[in-house]
Symmetry: C2
Subunit: 328 residues, 2 copies
DNA sequence: TTGTACGCGTTATCAA
DNA sequence: TTGATAACGCGTACAA
């Protein structure tokens, strides 16, 4: 493997000059530039990135935390981030926390050991107080999640609005008995906010909700199917259901169909995300502008790396959009 | 940021000894070990990974190529690989080729510039001759794809068998007019082999196929819907359809249902992959053992990195499995 | 416009 | 059992 030294020797110049050519410094004669380029090509030379990293104290690598990459929401987020990063010459290291606090913590070392220039968190398992100290080692951007105390850029969606417009849509369709079905993730503000939006819409319309119309802990298609089983055995079931994800909504619609119910006549269902599956099942849903969260988060990350300024809090709140299909 | 020098000073020892403690070399007194550990903790010291990489000439990082991470097949593959890698102390760099030759080529530089120890390819866009020279810089493992000339470990599925068992299943159900619907990716041997399996089953049963029962270029749900539109306008449509993916199969089933056709009475459809969507739509499908391809590929990769032997060809062929549901 | 010399933080070699 | 010293490959003051 050729080093910069070999190139210098072949070109009959010093390492410094070669380095200058590589890094496009001014004050190098065109002639020597050519000489260097020729030698580089001949030796099939490429700068060693470990040496560069050490010298420059930066890695041009960014770590992205997701719970699981198989979750379509997160894989879409990562897809956009990776492209955005590649465009600007950055690599992406994928970190799956599997919803586990200790996994998340162990990945934090990447920043401390200078394996990456920065961290983008798309989910947060630990208390912010666990994460905060690592800010000393590099920038952190939070994306999709929310934290009150984090002094970092936060890019997230207006989930209150999301809960509100989804619910309002159901109300406008004439349903009055509305149920609520979501996952209920620990620290997650997302679920919390959506619920507030849901209740706000209910209040405005002067509607009441029964306790038994609340279904928690639903994440998957299977959970959706189970939810329907519970629902159908209710004496007074809801007419319409607000759900926290397209998967759950799809499960409910599927189980309802199998049981001979008509959607939306017997039961209306609204999903969340506008995943490919939502189109397939013709689910009304609330679309999250994933591409725009992802690219904004990555943009803020690279900006933070380059500016080297101390981290400051900055909220970027993005709007959500109703997509109406035939499940409501 | 504390360095090994700082630790040495605080512990009143040499850098060498500190390094020995960090790397668990023998011949260090328990007492000095304690001294060092204490200093490390006090200074909140962590070895700088760039320096380590430079010195050791390895990165503990592996690049994984996928076309797009949003494709559920690949995200599942990556999910397993990342976990497997993390378990063994390796990081994963995600490279999306977007099915583009030049993207793929540009990522190859990662190996040459020593940013990663090795490459796992889950898809191949360029001719192998383009990739082969990079073997000089580190190991490459091919996973899910196939190449005749590649002198590297290859982990792939017996797609001939896949095409065969899927088709045979249809024949056993009594269908005699079988159609074939897949994507047709350039260099991909996958599609090629499945087709061979399909034809083999047909031959064995003495069945003929009409040209118009072949539908190409189908990848997405939407493609599946379009395929159904074409099919329904045929004078003599096939009774059953072998498809190359669950997405396509789902699109067909959905469009058929919307058009008032009964599945499987009017049209039977078999998918491929056994994705979550297949369960939702109750698609009969051919399951690919994704977890096992992924972990075997990663295992072979890490083995190659550690052994440092020259790359040799080695084929690992994994079996496929029928999953029967109600679409056939 | 070019070159000399030092340092980035580790680890491997050799000698003590 | 420990320590001094020389790499690993590169970039950049500083001097010329």
């Amino acid at each position: 493997m050729a080093t910069i030294q070999d190139v210098a020797k072949m070109a009959g110049l010093s390492r410094t000059t070669v380095s200058r050519v590589i890094n496009q410094h001014p004050y190098v004669t065109e002639e020597k530039k050519r000489l260097v380029s020729k030698a580089m090509k001949e030796l099939n030379y490429v700068p060693n990135s470990s040496a560069r990293r050490l010298r420059r104290q930066q890695t041009e690598t960014i770590a992205v935390y997701v719970p699981r990459i198989t979750n379509p929401f997160f894989s879409h987020l990562v897809e956009v981030m990776e492209k955005e990063a590649a465009k600007k010459g950055y690599q992406l290291i994928l970190c799956q926390t599997s919803y586990k606090k200790e996994q998340e913590r162990s990945f934090l070392e990447l920043l401390k050991t200078k394996q990456v220039d920065g961290l983008i968190l798309t989910s947060i398992e630990n208390d912010w107080s666990e994460i905060e100290p690592y800010l000393a080692y590099g920038p952190i951007v939070v994306c999709n999640e929310y934290s009150d105390s984090a002094q970092v850029p936060l890019v997230f969606l207006d989930q209150i609005e999301g809960g509100y417009i989804g619910t309002k849509h159901l109300i406008e369709q004439g349903y009055t008995k509305l149920g609520y079905c979501t996952g209920d993730h620990k620290s997650s503000r997302v679920a919390h906010d959506r619920r507030i939006g849901f209740l706000k819409a209910l209040n405005e319309a002067g509607l009441q909700m029964k306790d038994e119309w609340y279904f928690g802990g639903a994440y998957s298609v299977q959970d959706g199917k189970n939810t329907f089983e519970t629902l159908r055995n209710l004496e007074d079931p809801p007419q319409a259901l607000f759900t926290g994800s397209d998967e759950v909504a799809a499960g409910i619609v599927k189980a309802a169909g199998d049981a001979g119910w008509n959607v939306p006549q017997d039961l209306a269902v609204i999903g969340f995300d506008n995943q490919p599956l939502a189109e397939l099942m013709e689910l009304t849903t609330v679309e999250q502008p994933i591409e725009s969260i992802a690219s904004q988060a990555m943009g803020l990350m690279i900006e933070s790396i380059k500016s080297k300024r101390a981290s400051v809090r900055k909220e970027v709140i993005l709007p959500l959009k109703m997509i109406q299909r035939s499940s409501t």
